[in-house]
Structures are given as structure tokens and as C-alpha cells.
């Protein structure tokens, strides 16, 4: 049963299994284990980024397709929810319509880009995605009448998902049972279900074909797989899941803007997460996203504390200035790629 749920994709390393279990438990009970707005917000972001990075891994790690448009698809889901909530008024119907339309639009755009460019060469696809994603980002900031431009959009979500909705008078384990909690579990279970679906996809006959294409597209075609169709399908599926992750993000934040969904920085972050975690493993997305998002949210605090502690020493406090957190993340990245070229998951599996 459990094995079937993870599609027979065992962690194949005791340590990896335990780490994954720990992350699952931590996320499942985050509001109770780490109460506080900031930490629950971090947990929700971890869930969403696990899903987003996993959907990217489907394309990159399994299909061998390099894309720079993943945040664009992410953004389409987010803006779908935002626009629907604004124009239809707050409500679950708006969330649903926004998510579905966003996902369909992402699939359609992925289909067009894929059919147009995957036929040629993988590198051509990468360049086209870069061009289209940049164009869309510019368009979104220009069309401020519709998209809110650089300021983004704020909107209302159903009351049942906000802290205004109370579901119990008593606190449970010191936590209020309110709409915000429901919202978190919507994000958690939404991400979990979609992640398990991705896990099934990569372990299906289709997933095997993708791996074959990644390994040797020439031979994959020769044994009878129409490579272009598989690549385009993988791209569309990946885009749909990315868009749904964006919808969850929009529901959680009640705000969308270029910086939170479309920016090129997030695209780079996704790449880092998938590489650090381990490409072509799905579980790498879990590890990579968890490490990265937590670091992003807490590294600055950590650095701040360290800076204060070392304030009397020369140079060091300068290096440990919280504003330098990206530098340290870069160092971390270089080290991890150097020591674990197959990512953390690849490394753990080799030993285990």
C-alpha cells in the first residue's frame, strides 16, 4: 500500500528514507510543531517549492529538457487565481476557475513552445523558453491595468481559509483551529497529492521512456518512440503542475506579483534546488527545496546572530553581514556541487 503510494520508488538509502520521513512529519504537523506566523509561512513555502522543483525535475532530470520558463508557468497559475478572485469575487469557485484556467493556459503555451522548438534541438528550446519568459515578465509589468504591474495584485480569498474563520473555541496543542490552518493544510495536501502524482508519472512506462530519451534520444527514436511527442508531453505536464503550485502559492499569500512568482531569481533558485537535491530522483526536489527555503528564511537570522557575536573581530563581521546571505548560499552551492555532483540524493544512495 505505502509502496504503491510512492509508486515503488523506494528511497534506497536508510538515511535518505529517514530524512524524507522527518521532512514529511515536520511539514504535516508544522503548525503544531513550529507555531508562529513566520515558521508556518516557511513550511507552506517549502511545500509549494517541493512541488515546483519536482515538476521541474520531471522535465530536466527525467526528460533532459532545459527550460527557463518554469517560473512563467508558476506565475500563470498564481495570476489565474488572483485575476479570478478579483473579477469573480472571493470564493472557492474563483479559486477553482483560476487554477484550472491557469493550468490550461500553461499547458497550451507549453504545447506551442514545445512543438515549435523541441523538434529542433534541446538548446534551442532552452533559448526560446528564456525569450518567451522574459517577454511575459515584461508584458506583466507593462499591462499594469490588468496585472497590477510591478506592484502586483492583492485580493480576497474565501473567509473559510483565513484566520477570521474559527472552527473551534478551544486551542488544540496551543494552536487556533482557524481558516489559516485550513489554508495551510490545503497547501500541504495539494502539494503532497501532486507530488505523489509526479512520482507515479516518473515510475510509469512514460517515465521510463523519458529516461531513455534523456540517455539517448537517437536510440529511443530508433526503437520506436516518437521523441518529440514524449518531450512535448513532459513539458506540458510539467507546466501544468508548476501552474498548480502557483495557484496554491497565490491562495496562501493572497498576493501575486512579479517578484514572488515570475522573477528570474526564482528560476535560478529552482535550478539550484534541483541540482543540490539531485536531478532525476524526485526526492532530490524534497531535500533541495527544504534546505533552500529554510536557508533563505533563516540564514539571514543566523548570520545576524553570528555577526553580533563576532562584532569585535576584524573582517569577519563584514563577511557575516546578513546582507551577504546570498554569497554564503553561493558558497554552499559550489561546495555541494563539488562534493555531491549527483546531488544529495545521489550521494546518499551511493553510500547506502
Amino acid at each position: 500500500m505505502l509502496v504503491k503510494l510512492i509508486s515503488g520508488d523506494r528511497p534506497r538509502s536508510l538515511i535518505l528514507g529517514l530524512v524524507l520521513l522527518a521532512i514529511l512529519v515536520a511539514l504535516a504537523f508544522a503548525p503544531f510543531l513550529f507555531p508562529g506566523t513566520r515558521s508556518v509561512d516557511t513550511a507552506a513555502r517549502v511545500c509549494i517549492f517541493i512541488l515546483l522543483v519536482a515538476s521541474y525535475d520531471l522535465m530536466l532530470g527525467y526528460g533532459g529538457i532545459v527550460s527557463f520558463a518554469h517560473t512563467m508557468f508558476f506565475g500563470m497559475g498564481a495570476y489565474g487565481v488572483a485575476l479570478a478572485s478579483i473579477h469573480m469575487g472571493r470564493g472557492f469557485d474563483a479559486l477553482l476557475v483560476g487554477s484550472v484556467v491557469g493550468a490550461l493556459a500553461a499547458a497550451a503555451l507549453a504545447l506551442v513552445i514545445g512543438l515549435f522548438s523541441l523538434r529542433v534541438r534541446a538548446i534551442f528550446f532552452a533559448m526560446i523558453t528564456l525569450a518567451v519568459a522574459s517577454a511575459v515578465a515584461v508584458l506583466v509589468s507593462q499591462l499594469s491595468g490588468i496585472t497590477g504591474g510591478e506592484d502586483g495584485l492583492s485580493y480576497k480569498i474565501p473567509r473559510a481559509l483565513t484566520s477570521a474563520a474559527k472552527y473551534a473555541d478551544e486551542k488544540v496543542l496551543g494552536v487556533r483551529i482557524n481558516g489559516k490552518l485550513m489554508n495551510y493544510y490545503l497547501v500541504f495536501f495539494g502539494s503532497l497529492i501532486l507530488f505523489l502524482l509526479l512520482l507515479r508519472l516518473v515510475n510509469s512506462p512514460f517515465g521510463r521512456v523519458l529516461q531513455a530519451i534523456r540517455e539517448n534520444d537517437f536510440r529511443a527514436e530508433a526503437i520506436g518512440y516518437r521523441v518529440i511527442y514524449y518531450r512535448v508531453t513532459a513539458t506540458c505536464l510539467s507546466a501544468v503542475v508548476a501552474a498548480l503550485a502557483g495557484s496554491l502559492f497565490a491562495i496562501w499569500l493572497r498576493y501575486v506579483g512579479p517578484d514572488t512568482t515570475l522573477s528570474f531569481e526564482i528560476m535560478i533558485d529552482i535550478l539550484l534546488m534541483v541540482v543540490i537535491g539531485g536531478m532525476g530522483t524526485m526526492y532530490g526536489a524534497v531535500i533541495g527545496a527544504t534546505l533552500f527555503v529554510v536557508a533563505q528564511n533563516y540564514l539571514q537570522n543566523l548570520l545576524g546572530a553570528a555577526e553580533e557575536a563576532l562584532v569585535d573581530l576584524p573582517v569577519l563581521p563584514l563577511l557575516l553581514n546578513p546582507d551577504r546571505w546570498l554569497l554564503w548560499l553561493g558558497v554552499l552551492f559550489v561546495l555541494s556541487v563539488y562534493f555531491f555532483p549527483t546531488g544529495i540524493v545521489g550521494r546518499l544512495r551511493r553510500r547506502g
Binding site: 504503491k4 512506462p205 527514436e221 530508433a222 520506436g224 516518437r226
Partner: protein, 254 residues
């Protein structure tokens, strides 16, 4: 001939000014094993590439069972019955030996777009793959990654993929090249079995004359991309033109 399976008509390809395959018109029949010989660079592999579709023809046509397949994609031709083993080993290196064969059978059964079942739950595919591995004596290495295999075993797997495909036309491009003397017989026996079946169409590019002598029903000679001779082995091998111009010392050796 009535039982023509594969036919090329005026098949030609040019690379810039160089004509690699030049107006080759030739048909291949069911139950016949045709050896294709010729010096290095004669165009044998390129002729194969035109038939299986990796390279588009500059002119001429390819017909399979009467159907013009010249414009069909590689994968389409595979489904129509063209099967190919490559001269340079061409596998999926970071997948297991078994998975390599499974992929072929999965393609043949058209299950590639099965998105939501678990691949390993298709036991019919796994069983067929294991059977194919057994035929080249690789069953004990099924779980290994292909990249960990010796060169000889990779060559065997290359052949196993073609065997697993069970196409109408089998194209072998120097299948035993780089194999040790004790490894080659497994592959040669397999090709002989295909020949003894009397229903398969087999094309075999081969340099070793003793192999050709025992296996071939017919030999065609390519030289500078053109068809230079075509006939039963004794005849073609004896012909002066082949002896002198194309086989050179190779024939004297055997």
C-alpha cells in the same frame, strides 16, 4: 520477385559534393540473408541509415511491403517492421541491462504513453525482456547498469535489443566487431537461427569472409556508394572485379 519485403529504388544521398550512396536499386526477400560488403567508407552504414530513416534521402525511395516509407519518421518505420542494430554501440548507458530491453518491448506494445501505471507492474514486458536477454546469455547481468558492462557484452545487448523487437527486416551492422572469439558465436548462432526460420529478412554488414560464407544466401557489394555486384556468394566472391578491387587481400586470407 513475389516475396519482396524491402526494396530501395535509385536510393541516393549526397553530403555536399560527396555521393555516399549512389542510385542503389535493390530488393530483399523474406527468408533471405543478404550480406552487404565493401571497403571502409563504401557507404554500407549510410545505406542502412537511409533505410531506417536516420538520414533523409536526397533521391530515390524505400519501400517496405509495397509501402513507400521514404518520408516516414524513424520511429514510424520501426513500428512498420524495420529493425536495426548499430555498428557503434548505441544504448541507454545509465539504465539497467533489463530496462534497456524492456524499453524495446514496451515500444513494440505501444505502452509508452501509459502515464499512471507502475512500469514494473507490466510483468509481460519484463518476462519478454528476460527471455531476450537469455538468448544472448546476458540474463545474469540483467540488473547491472549498461555503462558497467564490458564492450563485448554491450555488443551482445545491442543485438538483444534487435532480437526483442522482432521486426520484419533485421539489419545488423558488423554485429561481432570488437567481440572476443568466445563471445562472437552467441551472436552468430542467433543470426543463423533467424536465417533458419526462413521467414525473416536479414541484412548483414560484415567484413569477415568466413562468417559471410557460412551465413549468406546472397552478397551485394557496395563501392563508392554504388551497387557493384549482386549474386550468390560463390559467384560474387569469385568474380574478378570483387577479388581485385574490393576485397583485396581479405579474400586471399580465407
Amino acid at each position: 520477385m513475389a516475396n519482396t519485403v524491402l526494396e530501395t529504388r535509385d536510393l541516393t544521398v549526397r553530403f555536399g559534393g560527396h555521393v555516399a550512396v549512389n542510385n542503389v536499386t535493390c530488393s530483399f526477400n523474406a527468408g533471405e540473408l543478404t550480406a552487404i560488403v565493401g571497403p571502409n567508407g563504401a557507404g554500407k552504414t549510410t545505406y542502412f541509415n537511409l533505410i531506417s530513416g536516420q538520414i533523409p534521402a536526397s533521391g530515390g525511395t524505400v519501400h517496405l511491403n509495397g509501402r513507400d516509407i521514404t518520408r516516414d519518421a524513424v520511429s514510424v518505420r520501426t513500428h512498420l517492421g524495420i529493425g536495426r542494430a548499430f555498428q557503434l554501440t548505441n544504448l541507454f548507458p545509465n539504465l539497467s541491462v533489463l530496462e534497456n530491453v524492456r524499453l524495446v518491448i514496451q515500444a513494440k506494445l505501444n505502452k509508452g504513453f501509459n502515464l499512471f501505471s507502475m512500469a514494473d507492474s507490466h510483468t509481460d514486458i519484463s518476462l519478454a525482456a528476460e527471455a531476450a536477454l537469455k538468448r544472448v546469455n546476458l540474463q545474469d547481468l540483467a540488473a547491472q547498469l549498461v555503462s558497467e558492462l564490458s564492450h563485448g557484452n554491450q555488443r551482445k545487448l545491442e543485438v538483444a535489443l534487435l532480437i526483442a523487437l522482432e521486426p520484419t527486416v533485421y539489419m545488423f551492422d558488423e554485429p561481432t566487431a570488437g567481440m572476443s572469439v568466445d563471445e562472437a558465436p552467441v551472436v552468430l548462432d542467433l543470426i543463423e537461427e533467424l536465417k533458419d526460420d526462413k521467414t525473416r529478412t536479414v541484412l548483414l554488414v560484415e567484413h569477415k569472409m568466413d562468417v559471410i560464407r557460412t551465413l549468406a544466401d546472397r552478397i551485394i557489394v557496395l563501392h563508392n556508394g554504388a551497387l557493384a555486384a549482386d549474386g550468390v556468394p560463390a559467384e560474387v566472391m569469385a568474380s574478378d572485379v570483387v577479388q581485385e578491387a574490393y576485397m583485396g587481400k581479405a579474400l586471399e586470407d580465407v
